[in-house]
């Protein structure tokens, strides 16, 4: 090689030949240019290949459909119909060969030319007449002789008349001819139309195939106007080009194709692409045109495509609702987020306001035994396993200080107790248990592991609270806690004492001997106050004895999802992967895992498991800065603002009816909705029921507690219901005072038992199913309980009275519903 160079050096410059080198270089340049063009047009644009593939796929499918359509066309019945029509068409067309038709068409032609000629003549005559008229008038005005002109004028006018008449005749004749011809032709047109309809499918598929073949390969993009924020407070549009490759996403028939042509799930029908785009729900770079960059799998991209198990994160950006079935993990996470009181310590800008989840502590000294406070703070779950209060892992000293502070700041101090354990008579246990059962306390409270969970467990309640407090509480709960859900039972003092005795007999542990005169120092109180503020007790409990301290003690979570992984502190933990999800899962299950000697962690232990932590992860990582424009956001529906008025309202507050019942959209779901109770039940039965509630369904154990209401109170309730809580659809005073005939009752019975088989769900005299309430039994009778109008309307169409009922809509006529009603009322 070097030798060649050295030899070349010996040749004088003028004689050296550069031809070969030039040729090589030029060839190289040509090759690289072509390479550049191919690279630019094809290699760098893989979406072109995808579109081609998709078009072929769609073409194949269309061809298959076309074959099917052709086959149906070839089937016997279609073919026979087709040939019949063709035959008719042929005979109709043959009729056209008729002489008469020919003559008509010929005459029409002649008439047309005749009309044209006449029109021309008329026009010329008109023009000439105008000219003469001018001359005539000019002569007159010049006072010259004008007879000749007048003569000409008259002559021309006469001509005009004649021609107009002829023209009118000719046009009339033409009309008649046309009508006659149409008669011939009309039938042919309709036959032809029928023929095309038979081939309609084939034609449309052929057209579709043409359309597919003539499609051009191009970028498909959607522009979402004003979707994002820029940095200056304005809105900018978002461009999405996902459809360039994902062409089958909204086309039926592509469900089983492989990506990127697979059809999207039903959720796409709910969120059409033209309006919502793809990236607001899935993440990724909408503007990119290669798979890797469009899916955001490039270094540094902040919002890559969401993978398996994480796709619910972004639903929450528009759906503010707590429960929606398409995102179960998000719904779970949100419920947990709100019910665990996370918002008490962590701020999330724009999140729905949630009230404090802990009970007020402002009179705690009066309520609770000091020894119990200690036990509770040190380990809440040891007293109440289902509590929401987390474990702060405090030292004994810290718990003591906090206790001192709470007792000191309490507004009501303990007084010498009137009721002590010693003062309770053991003979009262049995009676207390009876009263307890009659009052159905376990509808809400847990005793012995059985019962409701919306109220505290009562097993060890006498070790927790001062007995005086318990007495006052049962007597009138609102006096201690105005927003409590506990109703005020009308017990006598003796009854309450018996209940307390019974409760005392249930206890399974003893904390310590009753400690009256419990003492604490001011130093402990001061330290306790600092601890209370530092550990954020005010995040769940209302302020105790001091002003609410501004600011929340936990980190702000508003943009938690945007936090880069570098900003997550993993402490000294090395055995988890360095991802946000791993951090969140670890943190929630063991909040103080990332503490080091220099950096403390204050978050307490909630006892979350892996499932809850995953749900939280979905919620938390959805807190990003991106937010859709206002019209897209579905705000949470506010709870109904119904407040029962007047005397009725006072009773409802006192008895806390809305804890279990719902009226007009507000209340609980443990008991029936009372919004239409006035139309639903008979006043007499209601009176009986409220005085002494019974179990209403065969499968149910629960029943309404006995409140020992006075007659006056019951009347207030009944009056309000009958006048206000009514449903217009139910006819009032229906069938009252009517007598039913035997044939009607018999017909009703037949309908009930044989035609509609109502006994599959309802019982009459213990025969029948147990899905629905029993209609007639020894202690319950639908005639007494329900109004006749309600029964009638209900049987006719239950969903008009209760959209969520399980009773099917059987489409009964008025007649049938009336007969069944009469049958039921005959018992």
């Amino acid at each position: 090689m070097i030798r060649i160079f050295k030899q070349r050096r010996l040749i004088p410059v003028e004689e050296r030949r550069y031809g070969a080198i030039f040729f090589v270089c030029a060839a190289l340049l040509t090759v690289t240019t072509i390479w550049a063009v191919i690279d630019e047009v094809w290699v760098r644009r893989p979406w072109k290949a995808y579109q081609k593939d998709f078009n072929e796929l769609e073409l194949q499918k269309a061809v298959v459909e076309l074959r099917n359509a052709e086959q149906t066309f070839q089937s016997m019945e279609v073919q026979s119909r087709y040939s019949e029509l063709q035959h008719n068409l042929q005979s109709a067309e043959a009729a056209l060969e008729d002489d008469k038709y020919r003559r008509l068409t010929k005459e029409l032609e002649e008439i047309e030319s005749h009309i044209a000629e006449l029109s021309r003549k008329l026009q010329f005559t008109r023009s000439e007449s105008d000219e003469v008229y001018y001359r005539y008038k000019t002569a007159l005005h010049r006072s010259e002789k004008a007879e000749r002109e007048k003569e000409q004028l008259d002559h021309l006018e006469r001509e005009k008349e004649k021609l107009s008449g002829e023209l009118a005749n000719a046009q009339k004749r033409r009309l008649t001819l046309q009508k006659q011809i149409r008669g011939f032709v009309q039938q042919i047109e309709s036959l032809r139309d029928s023929l095309t309809t038979l081939r309609a499918d084939i034609l449309s598929w052929q057209r579709k195939i043409e359309a597919i073949k003539s499609r051009s390969i191009e970028i498909k993009q959607i522009i979402l106007l004003d979707f994002d924020d820029n940095n200056f407070g304005g809105r900018i549009s978002r461009v999405e080009r996902c459809m360039t490759c994902h062409l089958g996403a909204d086309k039926p028939g592509f469900e089983n194709e492989k990506e990127p042509f697979t059809r999207h799930s039903y959720l796409l029908d709910l969120h059409p692409v033209e309006k919502f785009g793809c990236t607001p729900c899935h993440g990724g770079q909408g503007v990119a045109l290669t798979a890797r960059s469009a899916h955001g799998k490039v270094e540094f991209y902040h919002n890559p495509l969401l993978g398996e198990g994480t796709r619910e994160r972004l639903c929450g950006k528009c759906h503010e609702d707590l429960e929606f079935p398409e995102s179960p993990t998000l719904s779970d996470g949100r419920s947990l987020f709100e019910s665990s009181g996370c918002l008490g310590c962590h701020n999330v800008e724009g999140y729905v306001k949630v009230p404090n989840i802990g009970p007020p502590l402002n009179r705690i000294a009066f309520k609770v035994k000091p020894a119990w406070i200690m036990r509770w703070i040190l380990n809440p779950k040891s007293y109440l396993p289902q509590t929401k209060m987390p474990n702060f892992h405090s030292t004994e000293d810290e718990a003591n200080d906090v206790r001192a502070y709470l007792l000191d700041a309490s507004e009501q101090k303990p007084k010498p107790q009137r009721i002590t354990v010693r003062s309770l008579d053991a003979r009262w246990i049995q009676e207390g248990e009876t009263i307890f059962r009659m009052a159905r306390c376990i509808s809400c409270h847990l005793v012995d592991g059985k019962g409701g969970t919306i109220a505290p467990d009562l097993v060890n309640i006498t070790t927790k609270v001062q007995l005086d407090w318990l007495f006052d509480w049962i007597k009138n709960p609102r006096a201690y806690q105005p927003n409590t859900k506990m109703p005020r039972y009308r017990f006598t003092d003796q009854e309450i004492l018996k209940i307390i005795t019974y409760l005392n007999s249930l206890k399974t542990s003893e904390i310590s001997s009753e400690d009256e005169n419990f003492a604490y120092s001011s130093g402990e109180v001061k330290r306790g106050e600092k601890l209370v503020i530092e550990y954020g007790c005010l995040g769940c409990h209302d302020p105790v004895g001091q002003e609410a301290v501004g600011g929340k003690v936990g980190a702000d979570l508003t943009f938690f999802g945007d936090k880069p992984i570098e900003n997550f502190d993993f402490g000294d933990v090395t055995n988890i992967s360095r991802t946000k999800e791993a951090w969140i899962l670890s943190k929630l299950q063991n909040p103080r895992a990332f503490a080091t000697e220099r950096i403390a962690q204050k978050m307490p232990d909630y006892g979350f498991g892996i499932k809850e932590s995953r749900a939280f992860s979905t919620v938390l990582l959805g807190f990003t800065e991106e937010h859709p424009p206002e019209p897209f956001i579905l705000r949470r529906q506010p709870e109904s603002s119904y407040i029962p008025p007047g005397e009725f309202g006072k009773l409802v507050t006192d008895l806390n009816c809305l804890t279990c019942h719902k009226i007009n959209g507000r209340g609980g779901t443990l008991a029936p909705d009372l919004s239409y109770q006035g139309s639903r039940t008979n006043a007499a039965w209601l009176k009986k029921f409220l005085s002494n509630p019974t179990t209403l369904r065969p499968t149910l154990v629960e029943r309404m507690p006995k409140f020992n209401l006075t007659d006056k109170e019951i009347d207030i309730i009944i009056n309000y219901m009958r006048t206000t809580l009514v449903n217009e659809k139910v006819p009032s005073e229906f069938l009252s005072g009517e007598k039913f005939s035997m044939p009607e009752i018999e017909q009703g019975r037949k309908l009930y038992h044989e035609k509609y088989r109502c006994q599959s769900c309802h019982q009459i005299n213990y025969e029948g199913g147990t899905m629905g309430p029993e209609l007639v039994s020894t202690d319950m009778n639908i005639r007494e309980r329900r109004t006749a109008g309600w029964i009638f309307q209900w049987i006719k169409n239950p969903k008009t009275l209760d959209p969520a009922t399980l009773e099917p809509v059987l489409g009964l006529s008025d007649e049938e519903a009336l007969l069944i009603t009469k049958y039921l009322l005959s018992y």
Binding site: Y18, C25, L28, L29, T32, T33, W35, A36, E299, F300
Partner: protein
């Protein structure tokens, strides 16, 4: 070495690496010619050829070749896209483009006024006045080392210094602008204690005023060496110095001493942990 290769093959560093090789090649080319010319002598009346077509056709070839190289380069290597700019995330290390990395590296040894304004200014001014201070009539139009010793050595040294600074800035500086050997992985959490003191402090001077005075004396003494050398040169080569003139000489010696100050300062800083030699309220050297 992973870090080293990663930096070397970054799309925006590939041209520098290529250019470095080219610079070495051209230097070798020139010097080999110079050696040959020095050995066999240079004949000013050698054969001449016309530029057109004998030079232009070679240039045209070169154009073709460069176009081919550029086309292939642009097809195969895409320009890099780095992270989304975010005011809350500062890249670490935040490095200047390669042509300014030399200056950024100089910032370690001098304060911003000197390293960013004075020295670059002097570089530019120095380059501009080369025609006026270079009075050597020999060595024009052909490569020669013996006939242009001073110019080649000084310029070569300066150029090499610049390139070395760039190389250090590219490959040897990591997060926090700490020194990382090329085989060390870059650790953003690394902390190295920096315990540099000013030179006067080392000599026991604690007051600011006397530190200033000390530094001033030192720096003027350094430049005074140039003055002394003038008189020495005048005695050794009187005719040359008469032709050269005192103005030219002052400029040359000033620039040369300033250029040499950089490696001296680098040594003081790296070996002796000295921060500044001369502290004043307006600038520090």
């Amino acid at each position: 070495m992973e870090q080293f290769f990663h930096i070397l093959t970054l799309p925006d560093n590939i041209p520098i690496a290529g250019m470095l090789l080219l610079v070495l090649f051209y230097y070798w080319l020139g010097m080999s010619q110079a050696v040959k010319n020095d050995k066999y002598g240079v004949n000013r009346n050698i054969d001449k050829v016309h530029c057109w077509p004998y030079l232009t056709r070679i240039e045209f070839l070169a154009t073709l070749l460069i176009m081919v190289i550029l086309t292939v380069w642009s097809i195969t290597i895409d320009a890099p896209l780095e992270e989304l700019a975010s005011p809350s995330k500062t890249p670490n290390p935040a490095k200047a483009p390669w042509y300014f990395l030399g200056l950024q590296e100089m910032l370690v040894y001098f304060d911003p006024w000197i390293a960013g304004v004075i020295l670059p200014g002097l570089i530019i001014v120095g380059l501009m006045i080369i025609p006026y201070i270079d009075t050597n009539p020999r060595g024009g139009g052909y490569y020669s080392f013996h006939q242009r010793k001073f110019a080649i050595i000084v310029f070569g040294f300066g150029y090499m210094l610049w390139v070395v600074l760039i190389i250090i800035g590219t490959f040897f500086r990591g997060p926090g602008w700490y020194f990382f050997y090329p085989w060390e992985a870059w650790d953003v959490h690394r902390i190295v204690a920096l315990t540099n003191v000013d030179l006067p402090y080392l000599f026991g001077i604690r007051s600011y005023f006397w530190s200033s005075v000390f530094g001033g004396i030192l720096v003027s003494g350094y430049y005074f060496l140039g003055v002394i050398f003038y008189f020495y040169l005048k005695k050794k080569h009187p005719e040359f110095m008469k032709k050269f003139g005192i103005i030219r000489y002052s400029i040359v010696v000033f620039l040369l001493l300033t250029m040499l100050a950089l490696p001296i300062k680098m040594f003081l800083r790296i070996a002796l942990n000295i921060k500044y030699v001369w502290v004043t309220p307006w600038f520090n050297i």
